[in-house]
Subunit: 239 residues, 2 copies
């Protein structure tokens, strides 16, 4: 009979076949009326030269959790930690990676375009890709499919939460927020309905200041209350 201590002392993880494990964050932002995803050019095999998600392997010495891995990979590419990150889906099978049975833990993250624009523009291998330009690219692995899953989840979030606000700068106007929701949902939304919902949910702080979205007239600026990402409306906007 072996004790747990003896078992652990002789346990060798490498003695077993284990699937490859990667963490792939899907970072979205909103700029100039467009939804954009952060992609990086792969500089090593496999799928070298293709564009793909800014993911990578868990660094067991540095990452306390899977989410930390996702945040670390994003910070390496953008210079900042995204204000919103959420687990999306985990996909694993024998075919998605030529190296063998492989698993990816995907996260959806959101951030303001302005908060990393300079860093992204300064390098060649990191780029914001407009949603409509994705079809022209041949992405690595199953990353295109993963992006589609994230996009659909984001559409759902726009129907019952204010999470899309994390694609905007810290202070934003209600017309800006409505535009993002409309883009995600894929149709126009009634202004009064939208504002009533947001008002009554109490998820925004009225800063008292005014500012303008690019090219628009002055409007009141709002901020997200700290845990607004956790708020869900009990009734959806029409899908």
């Amino acid at each position: 009979m072996v004790t747990e201590e003896e078992f652990l002392a002789t346990y060798d993880r490498r003695a077993f076949d284990a699937p490859l494990l990667t963490v792939d964050p899907i970072l979205w932002t909103y700029d100039k009326g467009e939804l954009k995803v952060l992609l990086v050019k792969r500089f090593a095999h496999p799928e070298m030269g293709k564009w793909g998600l800014p993911g990578g392997f868990v660094d067991e010495t540095r990452d306390a959790s899977l989410e930390e891995t996702a945040i670390r990979k994003l910070a390496e590419k953008t210079g900042v930690r995204p204000p919103y990150i959420e687990q999306l889906i985990t996909t694993g099978n024998a075919y998605r990676d030529q190296r063998g049975w492989s698993v990816t833990v995907c996260f959806t993250a959101l951030m303001a375009y302005q908060d990393c624009q300079q860093r992204v523009e300064s390098v060649e291998d990191v780029r914001w890709i407009k949603e409509e330009d994705l079809n022209a690219l041949d992405l690595a692995f199953d990353h295109r499919t993963l992006i589609d899953v994230a996009r659909e989840r984001l559409r759902q979030k726009a129907l019952y939460s204010v999470v899309p606000a994390y694609t905007l700068p810290d202070k934003f106007t209600l017309p800006q927020l409505q535009k993002v929701h409309e883009l995600l949902i894929g149709r126009e939304v009634d202004k009064k309905s939208f504002r009533r919902r947001v008002d009554q949910a109490g998820v925004l702080i009225d800063t008292g200041e005014e500012g303008r979205a690019p090219g628009q007239r002055l409007a009141r600026l709002y901020q997200l209350k700290p845990r607004s990402n956790e708020f869900n409306f009990s009734r959806n906007l029409e899908g």
Copy 2:
């Protein structure tokens, strides 16, 4: 310059540290007015002797996907494939398993108690645990936390879907379904509201037959339409 073929030919997965990866399904059912979870007694280190989720490692030769792993593990314990399974969450960190950095891909599954009652009762190391009895057990790893996450997700599902119906036999009565929802939500639900929603959603088939829930009088029997699990109400029941 190495080609992709050369890279793959010499690639050795075991040369890299990879986190431990397990798949852990959380199977629920409904019986005698109680919500129950399927647990198994661990017969090997680590955490030997404790009760835990009926999970395990990916078998690269048999499992086409992570979901297949979850279904296979459940089938080994219950003798059947569950009619409902959905990915829940993936948890990974350095502390949850003494063997090292470890990841679990969790699934929530539902099935009728009757469909595996005999098989489960015939063995010593598999057991349906009543929700209220969980506190008395010291579960392996972080399985108790994972069960709590699944339980909360199930509560949400009860507010906006008919997914809880998968805890019932193929043919069930509306009072039975309402009871499950009430148990999950944690309060009584208005009968008329509940039936109106379900009627209008068109997710059930009226079998024309009548049957009785244990100890109740005759009532009409319904079945789930094929893709009813995908249907979401656009308005929640009150949380």
